[in-house]
Amino acid sequence: MSFFKKKSSLSSTSNDGGQLCEDIEKNIRMLEEHFCHTEDLMKKELQFHNRKCVIIYLDSLVKKELLQASIIEPILEGKMSEIEKTVHAAEIKKTSIISEAGKNLLDRSCVILLEKDPQAYVASVGGIEERAIQEPNNERSIKSSHDGFIESFSSNLQLLRKRLKSPQLKVKYFTIGNFSNTKVGMLYLENLANKELVEEVERRLSSIEIDQLYSTGELEEVIEDHPFSPFPQILATERPDRAVSYITEGKITIIVDGNPRVLVVPITFFAFYQAPDDYNSRWLVGSFFRLIRVFSFIIAISLPAIYIAIVSFHSEVLPIGILYSIRVSLEYVPFPPLAEAIAMQIILELLKEASIRLPSPIAQTIGIVGGLVIGTAVVDAHIVSNMMIVVIGFTAIASFVAPINEMGTSARLLGFPTMLAASLFGFFGIVFVLMLIFMHLSKLDSFGTPYFSPLAPFKKEDVKDSLIRLPLWKLNTRPTDAKPEYANQQGRIRAWKKK
């Protein structure tokens, strides 16, 4: 149990290694001291076969009915002579270490102490209110399943196990955070996932020294390879179907207790542009949408920049007809195109930020203000040209196309340096920035897997289920970016056709 070891001296209290003794009063005192005499630590004294018996629990963490029905009543009845057989609990643990008992108390258990017994009996009586399973708000789908992860570790695990009823699905627990003691679990298919990858993820998870870990976002930052890169290198999803499909590719998912977002490593760039719906549409439709989404990435980065470059440097690229209409719309605008574009982008971000957290009736107002006031009035006032509104609107829509929001935001963010370069160096600037971005993408690694695979390095057999989606009966091998132990994933699945 290496993950129970203390990683730093930050949280160790004085009686950490303390052992329980035969004196029950002293044991109670030691536990109370371990919990710094907190007032929600409850004690209940009972008699069990004429021995003094004390039940200790944290008032806030246990379900009273459960405690009454499965612990207190059986003890009072006292049918059996041993405490382990008396108590109605799925699992009853014994421990003689104070800190161990304390850990269990914090994990929604109660501790039973007996007179003249140096052991503490730990039984789980927990019950914490959970949110119902519902469709995740930020990853909606039309044709796929509508359940989503919630804040409870066990429910999330259940959602995954429900879909992968295989004994090979393995969970490894970690406890991260000296104060928060957050339960973190990594899941993978034992014989499929690459051994080195499993070791690497284990190594990174078990080496974290931190006092509190609340969210998957924090964990993401702690274990990712390139913290300075603008691209997300770990996929966080709220969709169980999505997580399961990655597990069957030999990837590893990481669940953090209390978080509805589940991490998937290693991940490639193109995974951020896939959606579960692709597999429930006809393959031509699915492929089409995937190509459209990747195209949207390019648009989100470069469209305003291309517009700026054309207007300020290379107007000769456009034929006279189009050029005329652009020039007319620019006629009364006093600002350079770069200022126009950046102002509009910032307004757009502000509108988006403002409407996210507002209750929906007010958010509608924001929509009207944004659409009418900013959209029309700004043009009428000759502050921004009509053409720029079209360009920025198109860019914004393109950036929202990404099924995983982070990637769209990254793309929009990368649009700013591209715009700046375009306004300084025209087409050359755009190509320069795009070249840097693609060089960066070719250089990125996620847990030892090339991030821009299957395009760089080019893997012919992986393109069929990344950039496009070929029909299911063509996908005989699983994607190899996570280096699974074996690639074959199906036999002749249209065998009925053979006469």
């Binding site: 000769e316 070249m435 070719s442 760089a456 390095p457």
Partner: protein
């Protein structure tokens, strides 16, 4: 030497060769070739392809004897430490100068077509920043990017098909062979320069996974691709423009595309050139990489060397360059290239045959 994490596949080698060979040369190739070969320029490029193929076979024979050494290590192995190091200096200088020349021509084209007023040193800084950023990482990542960039070459090939709709005159290249054998060979000489870059094999060979067999096939395929690609473009230009017109065009390929007009896009040449920036940069990256490799430094010092070489190339581009200086510079670099790319490897092969030296033998 054979570290797992810096190895590339044969597949990537193919694209590495293509990317380091295509680049600056192509745009002005028809102009250069027609100076001597006139309408038979396309034959010149074909012959150049054959010449490169012969050289590749020589490389192959040489590298087969030293499968784990790069060019600059082979020279030391065969000629001894002192003479080997002396030769390596020339090899290094060659790559630095070719890289510098490529950057200068790059800046010139950008200044001429895209950014007439922007000072050259800014373009130089930008382009070298990008090049250093990629070169500083290991070979695998360079290879990945080169494979990615090759998709652009295909895009450009497609663009060139559009120009079939501009007027063509087959009379320009008739009668075939009218320029005379000597002029065609002189044209070959000129087009060989555009094809330089294949010497990269001398440095890549030890890093190819499973380099015992199949490499010759891969590099031959790459060479056939390049030769066909160049011949196609030269041919296309030769039947579009007369010799008199070509003589006045610095970058005939761009002029060729300038003639195409659509309802949405007027100047296809500008878009073509913007995209062509990437293949031009990959050539510079290749030379920066080769120059840094030829210094035989260990892995720890490699990034420093790349930075240093990048700075040296930047300094070369700072030298005021008018056409006369560039022509002169070009001439001397050409001589150096001929020595490094053609003569030294051939000599090394002959010597290694004479002294029966191969990798397992004791070093002198």
């Amino acid at each position: 030497m054979m570290e797992k994490n810096i190895s590339i596949t044969k597949y990537q080698l193919f694209f590495f060769m293509i990317q380091s060979q295509t680049g600056l040369g192509l745009l002005s190739l028809p102009n250069v070739v027609q100076k001597t070969a006139k309408g038979d320029g396309w034959i010149s490029t074909l012959i150049a392809g054959v010449a490169v193929q012969i050289m590749l076979v020589i490389y192959w024979q040489l590298l087969k004897r030293f499968p784990n050494l790069i060019y600059t290590e082979i020279t030391q192995k065969i000629l001894g430490r002192f003479l080997g190091k002396f030769l390596n200096l020339f090899i290094y200088l060659n790559f630095i100068f070719v890289g510098g020349l490529a950057t200068i021509l790059f800046i010139k084209i950008i200044n001429l077509w895209l950014l007439p007023i922007t000072p050259g040193w800014i373009i130089s800084i930008l382009i070298l920043t990008a090049c250093i950023y990629l070169t500083i990482s290991d070979l695998r990542m360079i290879a990945r990017f080169f494979v990615l960039a090759t998709s652009l070459i295909l895009l450009l090939l497609f663009t060139s098909f559009l120009s079939w709709f501009t007027p063509k005159e087959i009379q320009y290249i008739l009668p075939i062979g009218s320029s005379g054998f000597k002029n065609i060979l002189l044209g070959t000489n000129n087009s060989l320069l555009a094809m330089l870059g294949f010497e990269g094999l001398l440095f890549l060979f030890p890093f190819i996974i499973d380099n015992k067999k199949g490499v010759l096939k891969t590099i031959s395929m790459a060479n056939i691709f390049i030769a066909t690609f160049y011949t196609f473009f030269v041919f296309l230009t030769l039947i579009s423009f007369s010799s008199d017109q070509l003589a006045q065009m610095r970058e005939p390929i761009l002029n060729l595309l300038r003639g195409i007009t659509y309802i949405m896009v007027d100047r296809v040449d500008l878009i073509f050139l913007s995209i062509w920036i990437v293949p031009m940069s990959t050539s510079i990256i290749a030379y920066l990489f080769l120059a840094s490799k030829s210094m035989n430094v260990d892995k720890k010092n490699y990034p420093k060397v790349v930075l240093l070489n990048g700075f040296i190339i930047f300094s070369i581009t700072l030298i005021p360059h008018n056409d006369a200086i560039i022509t002169l510079f070009n001439k001397y670099v050409t001589y150096l290239s001929y020595a490094v790319v053609f003569i030294i490897p051939t000599l090394l092969l002959i010597l290694s045959f004479l002294f029966k030296k191969h990798e397992s033998s004791e070093s002198a």
